[in-house]
Amino acid sequence: MTEASIGQTGTALAGPLAGIRVLELADEKGQFCGKLMADLGADVVKIEPPGGQNTRSVGPFLDDVPHPERSLYFWHYNTSKRSVTLDLESSEGKGLFLRMVPTADVVLETYPPGYLPGLGLGHDDLARLNPGLITCSLTPFGQTGPWRDYQTSDIVHLAAGGQMASCGYDPEDVPDAPPIAPGGGNAWHIACHHAYIAIMAALHYRAMNGEGQLIDASVHESCALTTEGAVPTYIYTGKVVQRHTGRHAFPGQSSRTQRSTKDGRWVQITGGNPTPRRLRALAEWMDTYGLAQDLLDEKYHDLDTFRQSIGHFNDVIAEFLSHIDLEEAWQGGQQRGFPWGAIRTMEEIVGDPHLEDRNFFTDVDHQELGRNFTYPGPAAIYNGSPWSISRRAPLIGEHNQEIYCGELGLSRQELSLLAEARVI
């Protein structure tokens, strides 16, 4: 398939989740799962408390002016969704929710364990109205266990889940450094990826067998499962990995793989699959700067010698990299078969021509502002059903009329009364 034909078919087809309706009762823990489903074509109706979800108060804000309709954080995580407002604790609100349940395939909720069942809105209650319903309850620790009711946040999960134990600094770089939590929101991302998988598996089972079910998903377990070799290293060797700057945590010492370049940036040179041809090409490249030292010697292009001399290689490469700029460094390595990567910031990512080729950058219309903004788009190109943002995040209750009047048949007068009573 050519790139052009992907673009053409992409505009004509529905997303792979078209026809699925999700009722999202989710805060920061679950909103990314809803976004993934919405961008892939599901009709995700975000049910917010009257006045809007508290995630709307998280910055950064458009032009640094705080306002619930200006949160870039909320925008990022709520694309392609619709929004209604609803007070689930009022009897009218509860009644409206129960009228929506029969239209839903999935309820995605992140309330504390027991909260929705306490309102008479647990999975069993909802399944009586809709036997095929899939309820995904995504909570910090799941519905059971001694830590079930513990209070958390993103960084608290990154601590308990093991991310922080692996991330940080060599003492030479930052003396006495604490474990460093990786970028914000990743505990929620990790959990949402797993919740998404669980929901899709349950949808498949329902398609085959007609039955809905309840998913009990745990942020903590998701994080604890996402630390690559740390747990197997302990289970099989009894050793605990130690933190190192910009490279794998490891039980002992290891060579640096994050190297600085002439322009004061960093390049990541972990791993790869060196071959004699690649090693020769690398040496010849370094030689064009007079920096190959002895690596042009044929003996270093033999893989056994290479493995024995890896420390020497690393030293020569580090010296070479310090004499060239980042862009040449990482692309030059890639062109010679090494999986090197620039440590990029958004300045270098936005406008990357390769990502342009993949139609990654997505222009999203904020019609109420009369402006368009560039969003991060699909991670994967589906050649038969596109993954693409269909609209900006909804305004607070933007679809109240569309859904309550258009779908549930309420009159405008009834809607006004519900708004006055703060039910919506």
């Binding site: 960084i155 302990y234 099989y236």
Partner: protein, 442 residues
């Protein structure tokens, strides 16, 4: 558990290797899909070759790496020379009876072997093909390759992590391999849903580097919408939400909060740390009470967030004087008892040995492995009420299920299988066979 798997009846032909791809098919296997991992002993998965997780006293070999045993749980393992015509014929037969084909080679490998999407769909018109290349199959740099760390660097994830005026700390592991695996599974399941509804398969062209970009959160929009510079004072802010003295700009950790940090605890070991975060004045007051209301903390100046931001260094130092008197689990429990958000930094050992929650929820399950003995395997982080979701057994020994699959699934005769071993289709002709393979051929 007697529950059926949600994906029972789904077959995945698995050409993946290293970490991201195998992690994807492992998850699909946990959900009940049948995973057939295709390998070749002369081009071994580098995780099978790795020695860092070979237990003491176990001889190095293709079945000795603990990381492989865990990463490739839930799979059948076959050996098949897909560079030979006879091997390729068998691969084609396997594709014709599979629902999903997954691979994470560099971008043109499958095409060069005559196994690109157009070929696959001739063999199975509704096949789902998920490719998991670093830069994807589409775009000018499709031939570039990544490992987890370089994908993290290129996606912007690495830069987000660290303290000001120091190199990036980045991620101390291949986050985008684990997460890349989850995207691979997500893509397969999403395309499966599309197939169920429309009857159509498709090629899903996933890119590891690309998937990381969205995981930088609001950093992307702060650039494209607000034009914020990434290289700025006080950023990235370590574990904090704002860096003392730097402009009050959001650092994408969520709402501004002080305290919000890791604090050293009693023992002073590498992982004797506890994270505490207070997201409101009430949560701060609660923490002050847990600390025993020391004089420094009851200062009215600290009762509001602006004061706490101004004096964040003082606060962090004083909290750490207190936390160092307590063991990390004890400290976290004291905080949690009154609703203060705190948890210990848990090492791998902590999670396996000291985490009562993971234990009670069944996140580790024991299985026997012919070479590695009885060991614990990581399970699945969610429970489904009507279908099973759990690790089902350790990785296959290399070639462990070749005969079973060739005869049981493709209907080869025993003689045809034996011929395949002799002519280099099912095992390298000049390579000694493991005892278990000889046993299986009897």
């Amino acid at each position: 558990m007697a529950l059926p798997g949600a994906l029972a009846g789904i077959r995945v032909l698995d050409f993946t290797w290293v970490r991201a791809g195998p992690w994807a098919t492992r998850m699909l296997g946990s959900l009940g899909a049948e995973i057939i991992k295709v390998e070749w002993p002369e081009n071994l998965d580098m995780i099978r070759r790795g020695t860092a997780t070979v237990p003491e006293g176990v001889e190095e070999g293709p079945n000795s790496a603990g990381l492989f045993a865990d990463s490739n749980a839930n799979k059948l393992g076959i050996t098949l020379n897909i560079r030979s015509e006879s091997g390729l014929d068998l691969v084609r037969d396997l594709i014709a009876v599979s629902d999903i084909v997954m691979e994470n080679f560099s971008s043109r490998v499958m095409q060069r072997r005559g196994l690109g999407y157009e070929e696959l769909r001739k063999l199975k018109p509704d096949i789902i093909y998920v490719s998991m290349a670093g830069f994807g199959h589409t775009g000018r740099h499709h031939s570039y390759t990544t490992m987890g760390p370089s994908a993290q660097a290129l996606s912007g994830l690495t830069f987000l992590s660290g303290v000001p005026d120091a190199p990036p700390a980045g991620w101390g592991y291949s986050y985008l391999d684990d997460t890349g695996g989850m995207y691979g599974a997500m893509c397969a399941l999403t395309a499966l849903r599309h197939r169920t509804v429309t009857g159509q398969g498709q090629h899903v062209d996933l890119s590891q580097m690309t998937m990381g970009i969205t995981l930088t959160g609001a950093a992307f929009l702060d650039r494209t919408v607000n034009g914020r510079e990434s290289r700025r004072e006080g950023y990235p802010p370590g574990n904090r939400t704002v860096w003392p003295g730097a402009p009050l700009e959001n650092s994408y950790r969520g709402p501004a909060a002080v305290p919000h940090n890791a604090y050293r605890t009693r023992g002073g070991g590498h992982n004797d740390w506890c994270v505490i975060a207070c997201f409101s004045d009430e949560e701060w007051e609660e923490l002050v009470r847990v600390m025993g209301s020391p004089q420094w903390a009851t200062d009215a100046d600290l009762s509001g967030l602006p004061g706490r931001i101004r004096r964040q260094d003082d606060i962090d130092q004083n909290i750490e004087v207190w936390t160092q008197t307590l063991e990390k689990y004890e400290l976290a429990a004291m905080c949690q008892d009154t609703g203060v958000r705190a948890m210990p930094v848990q090492s791998s050992q902590d999670r396996v040995e000291n985490d009562p929650q993971l234990r009670e929820r069944g996140m580790f399950m024991e299985f026997d492995h012919a070479v590695l003995g009885r060991r614990e395997y990581q399970s699945v982080p969610f429970k489904l009420s009507k279908t099973s979701a759990e690790v089902r057994g350790p990785a296959p020994l290399i070639g462990q299920h070749t005969r079973e699959v060739m005869e049981g699934l493709l209907g080869l005769s025993r003689q045809e299988v034996l011929d395949g071993y002799d002519d280099g289709t099912l095992w390298p002709a000049d390579m000694p066979r493991h005892l278990y393979i000889e046993e299986a051929l009897k």
